[in-house]
Subunit: 228 residues, 2 copies
DNA sequence: GTCTATAGTGCGATAGAC
DNA sequence: GTCTATCGCACTATAGAC
């Protein structure tokens, strides 16, 4: 599977995320008509990610957000109760959908080697599809309050666990030979994160997400496959 | 060389950085006595890195900084002219010293394989010595104005270039066999950055900087050394 | 060289008109 | 359901006392 195939699957969209936000926050959201609410939430969602991936969430004022969305302060506050609330809602829903997609993509494959490739690709492809959200999540974790931070850290460890499990299963099947699966998983993650954190670098050098995926997969496989 | 040896070298200190800040900004700094100025600058420097590595520079107010340093608003403004100015001064001086240290450490070695190891270790050891600064630099790049941002990006590319040069020289000497040195250098960098960005993870798992260095070096060498 | 006091701005949040 | 108007507060920055 390459990035084009992945996109055709239409496995995830910001609209799905906003519909979930609406359904799970129906009490705090003052707007009752689903279609209107989802439309505005999508507007707010996109604008928030855009503005805060530029300068950070705390540097984004709600007045910036008004300008970007075309909504008034009053209207914004019909969709969330505090600025911090907005951050938490976005974190929660997107995070949930992303783990789901990764697991689905891995489930589609059979062989353990394919699972490793699927895990790497799905993370890269997801971040290619919605880079602002990945940057947002990475950068804003430390600005969150303790309790929210814990959930963000749990999510980081969750995706890492996916890799650890695959590597350990590969060891068991004697397809892989990884001395330290935990440390191995630890260094795969930052390579995937670099794709969205330093996107400017790769686009400047005209490296496509597919090329990057192949490179990372080769790199990792050379280390995890038993030497002949 | 391990981390302990590196520390004993005392090759870099925050005081050196602050003394440079004083010397290179003698016009904008209103305090004229060097010893007093350096002492207070060090205080401000440490407090700024501490506070902004917690919640980000833009979320750190100058009132926070007063509390942390024990200085008043008026006193602070004798050392820099605007809040943004403070950010730029810190970026510039630390960045300069860090490239210098990396190059020095590499120069101490002879064989190209040792140079690769020295480059990896010096980056890891530096970030172990002054993690707040590395986090600060990584996180605040995007909050900077265009012109400052360019300098930060140039610095990222500069350390990457160090790796590219070593890999290409190794290819020439036929010690390495790296198909794509640029992409290889691109993925080494995030592995080094992970050490300070996710420090909580490694300390929780009781991985020392020396163990991490060995792992990264093995990982990279397995890929860059020609297969027998 | 450092302090306190304060000017001036922009923030998050809300009340009430429509 | 969305708007405008406005409150109270915290911010950066400065002026002037000591």
């Amino acid at each position: 599977m390459n990035y084009n195939d992945f996109r055709k699957l239409k496995i995830i969209s910001n609209e799905d995320i906003c519909r979930n936000i609406f359904n799970e926050n129906s009490q705090s959201i003052k707007i009752k008509k689903e279609e209107r609410a989802v439309k505005n939430l999508l507007n707010i969602y996109n604008a928030t990610l855009k503005l805060s991936s530029e300068k950070g969430f705390s540097a984004m004022s709600l007045r910036n957000l008004c300008r970007e969305t075309g909504l008034s302060m009053g209207a914004l506050y019909s969709y969330f109760s505090t600025k911090e609330d907005l951050l938490n809602i976005i974190r929660k829903q997107s995070q949930h959908l992303i783990s789901k997609v990764m697991l689905e993509m891995i489930e589609r494959t059979e062989a353990i080697q394919e699972k490793l490739r699927a895990a790497i690709k799905s993370h890269l492809y997801l971040s290619e599809t919605m880079p602002e959200w990945f940057i947002f999540f990475f950068m804003e974790t430390r600005t969150m309050k303790k309790e929210e931070q814990k959930k963000a850290i749990a999510s980081e460890l969750f995706t890492e666990k996916i890799f650890i499990d695959i590597l350990e299963e590969g060891n068991k099947q004697k397809v892989f030979s990884v001395e330290n699966p935990v440390l191995m998983a630890s260094v795969i993650k930052p390579m995937l994160q670099d794709w969205y954190l330093k996107r400017w670098k790769y686009s400047r050098r005209k490296v496509s997400v597919d090329e990057y995926a192949v490179f990372v997969i080769n790199f990792v496989e050379k280390f995890v496959m038993p030497t002949q």
